[in-house]
């Protein structure tokens, strides 16, 4: 079996959507699910398929905070620094993680292994402070054990 090119892969997954503008956001979400971010060439594919001008696709892709135009690291760690988590010590968690993982908040480490980000709220405030590790929430996090939580889910 020949390996499918990423371009063909994207064209294939877009087929589930009718070619109407209402499916622009769902299409972008689907592409990001496949590639973990939205490279510019994929925005072009979406534009052609959904039949919406590239400028508008770019506008929508850059509007929503959860859509990414840059490739994140292999591991994506997000620390909630909303009010509820903040008053329960999330800034300390963020600082510890940045030191342990050797990456600054908002950046991807040079080896592409991990991205560390702050997030405004994860909406599980009742178990603050909260971390999101590769899409999975971890609650009642202690700053001392934050790095081990990241290690535990390695390869999971």
């Amino acid at each position: 079996m020949t390996t499918e090119s990423q371009e063909d892969q994207i064209l294939r997954v877009l087929q589930i959507f009718p070619r109407e503008q209402t499916y622009l956001l769902p299409a972008l979400q689907k592409v990001q699910e496949e590639l973990s971010y939205l490279p510019l060439w994929a925005l072009d594919s979406v534009s052609e398929y959904i039949r919406v001008p590239k400028s508008e696709v770019y506008g929508v892709a850059t509007h929503y905070p959860e859509l990414r135009l840059r490739c994140p690291g292999r591991r994506l760690i997000r620390v909630c620094t909303g009010v509820s988590c903040r008053v329960k010590g999330s800034l300390e968690v963020l600082r510890t993680l940045a030191e342990d993982l050797k990456v600054r908040p908002g950046e991807t480490r040079a080896d592409g292994e991990v991205t560390l980000e702050e997030v405004g709220c994860c909406f599980v405030c009742s178990v603050a402070p909260v971390l999101e590790v590769d899409g999975v929430f971890k609650g009642r996090v202690q700053s001392l054990s934050a790095a081990s939580l990241v290690d535990d889910s390695k390869g999971a």
């Binding site: 979400q29 929503y64 959860e66 509820s84 903040r86 405030c125 603050a128």
Partner: protein, 536 residues
């Protein structure tokens, strides 16, 4: 195909005949529970049950609202359910024998029965302070049923109100009941629900749309998630009744992009409802047809603004529209559209089932019903609580919430998230109701203890508003960013004496001139912070 009555009877009979016979253990696996090991607890329980050779089913349920007690495990079987708090993956299998016998458990300090009486040393529900002060109607089934089984929901009474009106009611009757009840929207604007439905029904244009705003995106609130994760069929029933009343045939369920578990459980609920004829053509054999599509957001506070939500569904950036025209006249693709919040619609089945008179007994003389509040921050018992409108912050934080965690003093309460107010302790006795001194927002209550810096909190909130501003109108786009910069200067202590006045002036502009409710409410937290905490 029979009449609606026959079809409903068949569904109910099927639900009864398939009732699980043995005991079941429900694990509180809402997003809160899952973040602290609920799935691991469920796995340990299954292992333990297998080892003992028992026939006990383990079900991943929603959260009862007692997130502080997570992970909770509830035994359903003979008699009243018993709930055990503070179960962990390491003590789960050791707790199994005691739970199955409804005995007390040393490492589960808060174990209780869902009845007024105690038994075997397990206290009744009234001796649990977090629950005793509540009036649980929307939350009643949360954590006590299998959210992934429509038959379990039917056994708990779901879809009964819908079947009733499809059998012997009509849309105007439904609108009349809701109007008489005085139900107002629970998303933050507290607009009369019946007015929207009636307006949509009367407006020319087909199809008419119903949009469920499940884009709960106000930091510090997580109550809609509890409803969707714990009792998705309650929301679907409310949605169907609303669509029937408003004359709508097409719906969108728009769920916050971060609420992945809500989305999963709702998707499953919609599929099951469709498979038993509760969604689709000729629902329960009646003339009423309704099709619904699930959509997911991708973050962004402004997406919860109802017209921005419509823009997003149409495939554009989420930016609010200028009103009028209002969505009930010209909403999705220019057609009449009702947009209701999750909590609002979840109120509808009980209201229709029990009537406007019953609903009016809840709440105050002015506003009726209950309200869900999310308790978080430095409160001893964080979670989701449902109380009658008109209760006070003191009730929520001290009676239910157990006061400030760790014995510190209470400095302030943030009510209503980034659009809300910072409230000083001397104002805790004001009744919580729409139109009161402080806007309720959608019900986020964050307790802030002595150690918190009011400036840091105000800065966090205004920075959030600035980051999340969609940029469509100048007062919000420029104003919130300038306000954030001014607060930063205050925080650094580089303050010319006039900076507070400047902030107040700019706040006034942002409040009056912003296009949507989010911009208009953005300055509240800063203004209340300056007013009530001048020393900071």
């Amino acid at each position: 195909m029979g009449t609606s009555q026959e079809q409903w009877r068949l569904l109910r009979d099927r639900a009864q005949s398939q009732e699980p016979s043995g005991p079941r253990l429900l694990v509180g696996a809402g997003s809160c529970g899952q973040a602290v090991g609920a799935l691991e607890v469920a796995a340990e329980l299954r292992k333990g049950i297998e080892k003992l050779g028992l026939r006990v089913a383990v079900v991943e349920s929603g959260c009862t609202g007692m997130c502080y007690g997570a992970v909770q495990v509830t035994l359903l079987g003979d008699g009243v359910p018993a709930t055990y708090s503070s179960i962990t993956p390491s003590n789960a299998s050791a707790s199994l024998a005691a739970i199955l016998k409804k005995q007390t458990l040393s490492f589960s300090p808060e174990a209780f029965l869902w009845s007024s009486d105690s038994q075997n040393g397990l206290p009744g529900v009234n001796s649990i302070p977090f629950l005793a002060g509540q009036r649980r109607i929307l939350l009643e089934r949360c954590g006590l049923l299998d959210p992934e089984d429509i038959l379990d929901a039917v056994r708990h009474g779901a879809y009964g109100a819908l079947a009733g009106i499809l059998t012997e009611g009509n849309p105007s009757q439904v609108i009349a009941i809701v109007k008489e009840s005085g139900l107002v929207g629970r998303g933050g604007a507290y607009f009369p629900v019946a007015v929207k439905w009636e307006g949509c029904r009367a407006a020319p244009g087909e199809p008419k749309y119903l949009v469920v705003n499940a884009e709960e995106g106000e930091p510090g609130i997580f109550k809609d998630r509890h409803l969707m994760e714990g009792n998705p069929h309650g929301l679907l029933e409310g949605m169907l009744i609303a669509a029937y009343a408003a004359g709508s045939s097409r719906g969108f369920l728009f769920v916050n992009g971060e609420a992945k578990l809500s989305f999963q459980r709702l998707s499953r609920a919609v599929d099951q409802a469709r498979s038993v004829g509760l969604i689709g053509k000729r629902i329960l054999g009646s003339d009423f047809s309704f099709e619904v599509e699930l959509r997911q957001g991708s973050g962004g506070f402004v997406l919860g603004e109802e017209t921005a939500l419509l823009e997003s569904i149409e495939g554009r950036r989420a930016m609010p529209r200028v009103r009028p025209p209002f969505p009930v006249e010209s909403g999705l693709w220019g057609k009449p559209t009702v947009i209701n919040n999750v909590e609002t619609l979840s109120n509808v089945p009980a209201l229709i089932g029990q009537g406007a008179g019953w609903f009016q007994t809840l709440g105050t003389g002015k506003v009726h019903g209950t309200k869900l509040f999310g308790l978080s921050g430095n409160v001893a018992r964080p979670g989701v609580a449902e109380v009658e409108l008109g209760r006070t912050l003191r009730d929520l934080i001290f009676s239910l919430g157990g006061g400030v965690a760790g014995g510190a003093g209470l400095k302030a309460v943030l009510l209503g998230g980034p659009s809300g107010s910072l409230i000083p302790p001397q104002e805790l006795d004001l009744p919580l109701e729409p139109g009161g001194k402080f806007p309720l927002g959608s019900g986020g209550v964050v307790a802030l203890d002595d150690h918190c810096s009011i400036l840091d909190i105000a800065h966090t909130l205004i920075r959030f508003n600035a980051n999340e501003s969609c940029g469509k109108c100048t007062p919000c786009r420029e104003g919130t960013a300038r306000m954030a910069a001014m607060i930063a200067r205050l925080e650094q202590g580089r303050v010319p004496s006039t900076v507070s006045d400047e902030i107040e002036n700019l706040s006034e502009v942002v409040r009056l001139a912003s296009l949507c409710g989010l911009g208009q409410a953005a300055p509240y937290s800063v203004l209340s912070g300056l007013r009530y905490f001048p020393e900071t």
